[in-house]
Amino acid sequence: MEFVASVIALAVAYQAMKAYKLAKEHSLLYLNLSFVLIGTGLVVDGLANLIVVLARVQRGFLYFFSVGYTINFLAQLVAYGLLVFAYLHQTRNVGPAVMAAALPVMFIERNAFTELILIFLLVYVATQTAMNYSVNKNVNALLVFGAFATLAIAHVFFLLFVLIPFFYPLAHVAQLFGFLLLLAMLLRVNQPV
């Protein structure tokens, strides 16, 4: 599931790079970097899990689980932080105070509240995309909003997984569904004119 999601994330990154090359709009560069990080984090996490599975869950290899998770987590933290920054940047009123507030979020170390921080960032991004949809009323904007809302829900499930193991597969399915919504948007955008 993570490999499929990472391919979609990298496809979004590629499309954002194409858009940036054409329009030279910095928000699109942040979007590109953000999805490169998300895709890379998912690949690393997927590979780490694969190594553990291939090693048939031997005790020495379990370390890869936490390495993969940590890298994926930090990549997502910076990625969603960048997206928040991109939306703030677009409003053209990013003062030093706002940037200073964003930076500690980007470089925070892993702790008990990290998953909550991710949810907070995703809720912010989902809200921005919801506002965009309410203005544009267009299917692509709805798909992007749906994707970020679903990713936020996936992280809520990851948080609940700590208490109830049942939520782990649900979180992965929700995450995949979020990326599939982004794929649907990409396919619609690239339809022949």
């Binding site: 499309q15 329009a23 677009q90 965009n132």
Partner: protein, 103 residues
């Protein structure tokens, strides 16, 4: 990127962005006029002064995305390169707008 001319590399600056948007607006007006637009139409459609219109039309001709036709009255149309650029632009605009980013 708009296909660059021989000696006009386009730079990623604030000036470039506004210039890029003006290029697109001019080409959109031409496309809207069934690919045959008179200067007056473009002037009003792209909201430009006469001097700036002449400057940008010359630049777009140099870039090879529009061409001047007509003998008595000047008429501008998109070249094949211009049509391809606009097709790409629509995709990119649609993508950026889905995320709420303006181009």
């Amino acid at each position: 990127m708009i296909p660059s001319g021989q000696s006009q590399p386009l730079k990623a600056t604030a000036k470039y962005r506004s210039q890029f948007r003006i290029y697109v607006d001019i080409m959109l007006v031409i496309q809207r006029e069934n690919n045959e637009a008179k200067p007056t139409r473009i002037l009003y459609g792209a909201n430009l002064s006469h001097d700036r219109l002449i400057k940008y039309l010359d630049e777009l001709k140099t870039l090879g995305v529009i061409q001047e036709t007509g003998t008595d009255d000047k008429v501008y149309s998109l070249t094949q390169k211009g049509i391809e650029f606009m097709n790409n632009f629509r995709k990119v605009e649609s993508f950026a707008s889905a995320f709420g980013f303006r181009i």
